[in-house]
């Protein structure tokens, strides 16, 4: 019989994995927000598209269902190929969305650009809904099941994998934004687009890059989601997206480490509410926390990266 402490630890493991997923999704979202101060509702359905792209790539490689398990080099090759293709396709999708629907909206006041992203989001959602007949699809599972049992607390190899990938992507993005030339240009644009433009920063290119990077991350998250949960459906973007939103706001919207922290916190809150209160109230608890954070600490736990310009 599992002890209360072991149960708590097990739920923490569950929460960390869930949180890593939210964090991955929040990263790209927060990156775009940091630069454009635009809430990109389409982001979460780019994530959903990413899971389908990953599915198609893996199936094209002949990996379908739960029967094909790979090891060693073929596994790494298959996963890397799927990751690269998914990130490329989603990145390009993000750039196209920006170029054709959001660039014309730049400089338009008020909620117009946000409404446009809602429209784009709806289009992506419904195209997939119609294409798949609203069916959930089985996602290939080429990873061998490998559990580590530490005092009744089971950690699965997949969970460790998702932690590592999230960490790598977060640190990578953080370093990219901090150190690379383009990253610096991004931060300059985030601070003051007009000044950045005057200093010779190609703002269009910066924004495109941000959309590419953010959407590619969403794509990666989509693939990982599929590999982890072994299914995908047109609707996965919505509920995961809503929590990723909350994660980004909780950590400090526009703040890369904040998104990571927020994601993990939301994951933990969700699992702990399920364990100690009731699963049915988990959403209410998450969104109540969101509202409380906004009321008492609008900049989020780690503070917003971009100053709250007026």
């Amino acid at each position: 019989m599992i002890t209360p402490i072991e149960l708590f630890a097990q739920q923490a493991v569950n929460g960390l994995s869930l949180g890593a997923m939210y964090a991955l999704l929040a990263l790209g979202f927060t990156l775009v927000y940091g630069i454009l101060e635009l809430i990109n509702f389409a982001h979460f359905n780019v994530f959903m598209i990413g899971s389908f792209v990953g599915l198609i790539v893996l199936q094209a490689l002949g990996i379908a269902g739960q029967s094909v398990v790979l090891h060693g080099a073929p596994l790494i090759f298959a996963l890397l190929l799927a990751l690269i293709v998914t990130m490329l396709v989603c990145g390009i999708l993000g750039v196209l969305i920006e170029r054709f629907t959001l660039r014309p909206m730049r400089g338009v006041r008020g909620p117009m650009a946000m409404i446009t992203t809602i429209g784009v989001s709806y289009i992506l959602y419904n195209v997939v809904l119609l294409a798949t007949n609203a069916q959930a699809l089985n996602f290939p599972d080429p990873l061998a099941t490998q559990d580590f049992d530490i005092h009744h607390v089971v950690i699965r190899a997949k969970q460790i994998l998702i932690w590592i990938i999230s960490l790598i992507l977060m640190v990578g993005l953080d370093q990219f934004v901090r150190r690379s030339r383009l990253g610096k240009a991004m931060r300059a644009t985030a601070q003051d687009a007009e000044a950045a433009r005057m200093m010779g920063v190609d703002v269009d290119r910066v924004v495109s890059t941000a959309f590419f990077a953010g959407s590619a991350l969403a794509g990666a998250a989509g693939l990982i989601f599929g590999l982890y949960y072994n299914f995908t459906q047109y609707s996965i973007g919505y509920s995961a997206g809503l929590r990723a939103f909350t994660a980004a706001v909780l950590g400090g919207i526009g703040n890369v480490p904040g998104a990571m922290l927020g994601g993990i916190l939301i994951g933990l809150i969700e699992t702990m509410s399920s364990q100690y209160i009731a699963t049915k109230w988990a959403d209410v608890i998450i969104f109540s926390i969101l509202i409380l954070v906004l009321v008492f600490k609008p900049a989020g736990l780690l503070g917003a990266l971009a100053p709250n310009r007026s």
Binding site: T101, P111, Y122, I123, Y125, L130, I291, S310
Partner: protein, 655 residues
């Protein structure tokens, strides 16, 4: 010129009456119950769209959880007019039973209370309940920037159906409320006949339409639009932005609540699934299609999209499939256009945003074109023929501005370092300094837009630090902005009238009721605004109804000054008023500023053009890197070595 608007007004009147007659006669023209039911649903969506239009269209607040208020209104009536709650009967209920709100019911030998709240009472009642939820929920979040509001409302929109799903004892959970009582009137139960519902729906839309139009055309409506266009400038013009945003939110919620009650009474059942996110998004699509901020557009959008999904698309679907059957095309026979209706809605949303952002019926009517004479008329100078400040300012201490030890920091950067200065009443004080010397920061600190780190700012003896921008304006300080912050999608006259916001007394309730006092005040405000525009001769008066965004740069500066003057300030703060003007225009404006001083106004000026400064200023203060470098009379400053090297030298080097 006069007869043309009257004619169009008359034509509009005929159009409206014609439309009204057709709508009223619809059940006679088409007695099909299903069609009338569709029409009744159109009225419900129109009412929802009108409410969201106030929130999104007027006040510019993106509310993605609007369906939550719809749900609250629906459940409020549903719970109070069904068998859902059955507390045990006690004599305390008798007084409610006497007025027909409850009745005594005996179920299996136990006396219980059966709620029978009347529909007609619950229509306004639900509006009130939903509005209260709107206030409770909006109050903490509306202080935040608009983007956050979108996320928070999204969360709220999630929470309400979840609560409805899980609070089974109150809402009967996922199974939904059963047996909600239909409305009764004159002893007749509406039952399932769709015609009376249709008329009630029409009446609700009519009422909400009237409320919308009256609010739009009132000071409240102007204030909302000012917030939508530029929240900071709106605050600086004396608008209590949080309170007005909350008002918009509450009124929108109230509309939704009332509609919820109507909708549920018509359906006689309510399930939590009826109030999920798609409802909020679809109402948004309706107002985007019709035109955000456009009252008639909201109705058009709602009716069109309702009919699209319940009539047009199915008809098209049948026609295409029938055509497919005729020509033997299996593809066409199987084609399901209705399945794509949500996709079509998404495309409408993006398409409208990209190609017709103002919607099918734009909120801003096209301003009359200027006549050739007006366009080529030679410029005349106007004069100010009104008291610039009202009598109430006469009381109290001397309106002087005292700044002591003012320090403003942005992160680690000191924008202002312990600045002290004084502006005497009736003076013109100019502040000069190179870019980044802290001039605009000083202005922002005085008008409450940035929070100083240390120091004090006293006006007429009263501390300003800690006051909101709108409170500071009410103390008698009005400003213009260096980069011009007018409300671009509003007309010139509306911009100036917004400047008077703090001085207008009639509130939203008076506007809705159409009180004569409010109308008189509105007329007076317009007259006063025109008079202020007249200060610039014929430069602005013929353009009073044009959108500000269509004006020349110099004219925008003039509008901004007129707008600041409209608040009847004692201290007028102008941030580079002559920027972008040619020398002749600059001199003209300088003279007008001089005239304002002659009327008793105190003026604080940031200016780059030294000839203007020398011509006007009684006193000059030089800032550099947040420090006060020098102060004195203009001529003294001109000769000051430090100033020459720090400012003019550098400026010369730039040139």
């Amino acid at each position: 010129m006069r007869p043309i608007p009257t004619l169009t007004a008359r034509r509009r009147g005929f159009l409206l009456i014609g439309l009204g007659v057709i709508l009223l006669a619809l059940p006679l023209l088409d007695p099909n119950q299903a069609d009338i039911d569709i029409a009744a649903n159109c009225t419900a969506y129109s009412a929802l769209a009108l409410g969201l239009n106030i929130v999104v269209g007027f006040a510019g607040l993106l509310d993605l959880g609007y369906a939550a208020f719809f749900a609250i209104g629906a459940y409020a009536y549903g719970i109070l007019a069904s068998y859902q709650l059955q507390p045990p009967w006690t004599p305390d209920w008798q007084f409610l039973a006497d007025i027909g709100f409850v009745s005594k019911l005996t179920i299996e030998g136990n006396a219980v209370v059966h709620f029978t709240f009347p529909f007609w009472l619950m229509l306004p009642g639900s509006a009130l309940i939903a509005a209260c939820f709107g206030i409770a929920f909006g109050a903490p979040t509306l202080r935040l920037k608009g983007d956050y509001l979108a996320i928070v409302t999204l969360g709220f929109g999630e929470i309400v159906p979840i609560v409805a799903r899980n609070w089974t004892s109150l809402t009967n959970g996922a199974e939904g409320l059963n047996g909600v009582a239909p409305p009764h009137a004159f002893g007749y139960s509406f039952g399932i006949n769709s015609i009376p519902y249709y008329y009630v729906g029409l009446a609700i839309v009519g009422l909400l339409l009237l409320v919308s139009v009256r609010l739009r055309d009132s000071a409240t409506g102007r204030a909302w639009m000012a917030i939508r266009e530029d929240e900071v400038a709106a605050g600086a013009m004396g608008i209590h932005t949080t309170r007005l945003k909350l008002l918009a939110f509450a009124i929108g919620a109230g509309f939704a609540g009332m509609t919820g009650t109507f909708y549920i009474a018509k359906l006689q059942t309510a399930t939590p699934d009826m109030f999920d996110l798609p409802v909020s998004v679809m109402v948004l699509v309706m107002i985007v299609l019709g035109g955000m901020g456009s009252v008639w557009g909201a109705i058009l959008g709602a009716v069109f999209l309702s009919l699209l999904q319940s009539l047009f698309l199915p008809a098209l679907n049948n026609a295409v499939q029938g055509f497919g059957a005729l020509i033997g095309s299996g593809f066409l026979q199987q084609l399901q256009i209705t399945s794509a209706s949500e996709l079509i809605f998404g495309i409408i949303l993006v398409g409208m945003m990209l190609y017709r952002r103002q919607g099918l019926i734009p909120a801003a009517r096209k301003p009359p074109l200027l006549t050739t004479e007006q366009m080529h008329a030679s410029v005349t100078r106007g004069a100010i023929d009104l008291p610039v400040h009202p009598a109430r300012h006469a009381r109290g201490a001397k309106p002087d501005l005292m700044i002591e030890g003012l320090t403003v920091r942005y992160g680690g950067l000191h924008a202002l370092k312990s600045i002290s200065m004084r502006v005497e009443p009736g003076q013109i004080v100019a502040i000069i300094g190179p870019n980044g010397s802290g001039k605009s920061t000083l202005f922002n600190a005085i008008t409450g837009l940035v929070k100083p780190f240390d120091g004090s700012i006293r006006f007429a003896g009263e501390e300003l630090i800690g006051l909101r921008a709108d409170q500071i304006l009410k103390r008698g300080i009005a400003r213009s902005f260096q980069n011009i912050r007018l409300f671009p999608q509003l007309s010139v006259i509306d911009n100036v009238m917004i400047g008077q916001h703090a001085r207008l007394k009639s509130g939203p309730l008076g506007a809705v009721l159409g009180l004569p006092s409010g109308r008189a005040e509105e007329r007076a405000a317009r007259v006063r605004a025109m008079a202020l525009l007249g200060m610039f001769g014929n430069r602005l008066t013929p353009r009073a109804d044009q959108l500000v965004s269509s004006l020349s740069y110099a004219n925008r500066r003039r509008v901004e000054i007129a707008r600041a003057l409209a608040s009847a300030p004692r201290l007028l703060m102008l941030d580079e008023p002559t920027a972008g003007m040619n020398p002749a225009e600059s001199i003209e404006l300088a003279e007008q500023i001089g005239e304002l001083r002659a009327l008793g106004l105190t003026i604080l000026l940031v200016e780059h053009k030294l000839d203007v400064v020398v011509r006007l200023a009684d006193h000059v203060i030089v800032l550099d890197h947040g420090d006060k470098l020098a102060e004195g009379k203009a001529d003294e400053i001109r000769r000051n070595e430090a100033v020459l090297t720090a400012y003019l030298g550098r400026a010369a080097a730039h040139v």
